[in-house]
């Protein structure tokens, strides 16, 4: 059946299996030359597609244990972060690290070593992982952690499923007093102001900026920097205080059809961006918002990936080292604004230090954008790749659907050691995605 990632590009004909038990999984692994595990398909490109055997982990969806003292949960790889929130937020626990959607599996979060709005403080998903059970090429299951089989642990986090099949993991949640977030919005008229706000607010637990990438000249990099703290009981209105985890849920909306490709053009996005920025200016200051709206605004619109139309869209996410960030970001933003390509979503974030074998984050600034797939935007993305390379940046594989192997090699000297680890673990030919083939991992 046809498979694609969340960006719906590329679309690849692949055989998909949904094993129900470890025995069935091992048998599938044994029967096929190569396989790749697939969680909930939230990686944007072809990270979780293998033509001969894409192994969906949707039946590995059980919670196994929870320690109410430490907040450690043991769960199968197919459990969604949203499931953890539903089960444990009422008891006062929230994921330590979460990406911008709650519809990712634990297995996917580990494989991409995802990051959240608190990377500068708490690091990537790795920070909350105590151990992982991984099925290797021979079907044998190995438990790995920082102390035990550390090479497997280190390369499974951020390893994009190329070190084996993640079966289950122990991860730690953070204690929270409520399901609410104290959000502060800081309007930043340009990139320098936005970066200054990030640097000044390094103590904020969460920080992220929505960036208007069509603004040019004086306003290049105009942003709304949004900070967040878990609200304590004291922060809440008396009515909320009695049931601090009860946040009412807005109705989900669904994008019912693929919108025609012209819906999102330079004009409509420019109009939206201007309105959004003005609204942000008016609302600047502090607000109390519920966890769902704060962390997962797009989850409220199911199938939002359809707004880009049938041809799908490509994400671009890079990180630039701190010392090159300002010039590099200016150059990226100028190029995008000049091209006039309408990126509906554009996000800027300050990363804290990270040193792990193949995970994406490093200290600096990360910029994420998405573009409808057209010949023009694909050419633009190649230009953005080159700018990133020039400024010593690197790329997020969970978002990639079109990069070239040379680009990755040039951007990331860790490719060689990652490939060596794959060889040592015996996984090079056995765990393969179409992305891994394209990027020669």
């Amino acid at each position: 059946m046809k498979q694609s990632g969340w960006g719906r590009f590329p679309v690849i004909e692949a055989q998909v299996f949904r094993p129900r038990t470890e025995t069935e999984l091992a048998a599938l692994l044994d029967r096929h030359k190569s396989v790749i595990a697939r969680g909930n398909g939230r990686a944007y490109g072809d990270s979780a597609i293998n033509r001969t055997a894409t192994l969906q982990t949707s039946h590995f969806d059980k919670l196994i244990a929870f320690d109410t003292g430490t907040g450690q949960v043991v769960a199968e790889a197919g459990v969604l972060l949203g499931d953890l929130i539903a089960a444990f937020l009422p008891q006062g626990w929230f994921p330590l690290v979460t990406p911008g959607t709650k519809f990712v599996t634990i297995g996917g979060a580990i494989a991409a070593d995802v990051h959240g709005k608190n990377h500068h403080k708490d690091g990537s998903f790795r920070a909350c992982v105590d151990w992982i059970d991984v099925m290797g090429p021979d079907g044998k299951v190995t438990r790995c952690s920082r102390d035990e089989n550390a090479v497997l642990f280190d390369h499974t986090l951020g390893g994009m499923g190329l070190t084996g099949i993640i079966l289950r993991a122990a991860i730690r949640l953070r204690p929270v007093e409520s399901g609410w977030i104290r959000q502060t919005t800081i309007p930043a008229p340009n990139l320098q102001a936005a970066m200054a706000a990030f640097e000044a607010e390094k103590d904020a637990t969460y920080s992220v900026a929505w960036i208007d990438c069509l603004a040019e000249g004086e306003g290049l990099g105009r942003s709304l920097v949004m900070l967040g703290e878990h609200a304590t009981r004291q922060d809440l209105a008396p009515a909320q205080r009695t049931q601090p985890f009860q946040t009412k849920r807005p109705p989900r909306r669904r994008v019912p059809i693929d919108l025609p490709a012209f819906t999102l053009n330079r004009l409509s996005v420019r109009a939206f961006n201007t309105l959004y920025y003005r609204a942000g200016e008016r609302k600047s200051g502090e607000q109390i918002v519920d966890w769902d709206r704060y962390f997962y605004p797009l989850d409220a619109i199911l199938d939002w990936n359809r707004i880009y139309g049938r041809k799908g869209f490509a994400q671009f996410q890079c990180v630039l080292p701190l010392d090159r960030a300002e010039t590099g970001l200016s150059s990226l933003l100028r190029t995008i604004a000049e091209a006039g390509s309408a990126s509906f979503l554009a996000v800027l974030k300050r990363f804290g230090p990270q040193d792990s074998p193949f995970s994406f984050p490093m200290e600096g600034y990360t910029l994420a954008l998405d573009f409808p797939v057209t010949a023009k935007t694909l050419a633009l993305l190649d230009r953005l790749d080159r700018i990133t390379l020039y400024h010593g940046g690197r790329f997020y594989l969970a978002k990639d659907s079109r990069m070239r192997a040379e680009t990755l090699r040039a951007a990331d000297p860790r490719v060689a050691s990652f490939k060596q680890a794959r060889t040592d673990l015996g996984t090079t030919r056995r765990f393969v995605s179409t992305q891994a083939e394209r990027l020669e991992l």
């Binding site: 969806d61 059980k62 919670l63 244990a65 929870f66 539903a86």
Partner: protein, 245 residues
């Protein structure tokens, strides 16, 4: 007031598990009944962690009708709601030739479910409350060449449920007949089903919970099935017999 337990018969199927999750999420204690129930420990743990309600496992064989009375008597609490999700499809080509196989399909979809629901119905009748939910099938609405052995057993079950409902309506006991249409489960894995007509197990669970709450009698999960079956039922037999469906 704490909620009454929900008994799930044939608890291992995808549909049954979705129903169990739904009622557990609503705060009901759950009794999972299946063959080799002990092997459902992981499900029990998972649901207890998610919903913080008591989940218990009960050994149950729908074909062992002689012991259905003992089974119900041995439950720690009489459930307030019982959902029968037992059933096997078998293969029509086999069922046509192998009478033992056909008999197994008939007994698993009709005789067994009717037996256990009869037992529960009498207990509910005595206590003057309760809801029985039978998961039957649109296949029971009209016999077709491609699955009439299964379909006829489901037809029997549907008629049984409707009779039971008629009998118990004045006794404070409600009976729900569920006709799910195509559902994406292990039973239908590998079949090429039309997406618009195919429900997810969670949709079935949602429809059942709603039907129980609102006291509805016969529910199709996706409304389009009501129309589809209306058409199928109204085709004259002399035409129907020549159709390939």
């Amino acid at each position: 007031m704490s909620k009454l337990p929900v008994l799930i018969l044939g608890a291992r199927s995808d549909m049954a598990r979705a129903v169990a999750h739904k009622f557990a999420a609503l705060g009901h204690p759950i009794q999972l009944a299946a063959r080799n129930a002990e092997s459902m420990q992981a499900d029990r743990m998972d649901m207890e962690l998610r919903y913080r309600v008591p989940i218990s496992l009960h050994e149950f064989d729908v074909l062992d009708t002689a012991h259905h009375g003992d089974f119900v008597a041995a439950l720690p609490d009489l459930p307030g709601i019982a959902v029968c999700a037992v059933g096997i499809m078998g293969e029509q080509a086999v069922n046509e030739k192998d009478r033992a196989a056909a008999s197994l399909v008939m007994r698993s979809n009709y005789e067994g479910p009717a037996s256990i629901l009869a037992e529960l119905a009498n207990r509910f009748d005595a206590s003057g409350r309760g809801t029985l939910v039978g998961i039957s099938s649109v296949a029971g609405e009209r016999g077709r060449a491609t699955n009439y052995v299964y379909g006829s057993a489901k037809a029997g079950f549907t008629a049984f449920l409707s009779g039971l409902r008629n009998r118990l309506a004045k006794r404070g006991v409600h009976v729900v007949t569920v006709l799910p249409g195509f559902v994406a489960t292990r039973m239908t894995e590998g079949m090429d089903l039309p997406a618009r007509l195919t429900a997810q197990p969670e949709e079935v669970a949602e429809a059942i919970a709603k039907a129980v709450e609102r006291g509805r009698d016969v529910v199709y999960v996706r409304p389009i099935w009501r129309l589809v079956m209306l058409i199928i039922r109204s085709i004259p037999e002399r035409i129907f017999k020549k159709l390939k469906l």
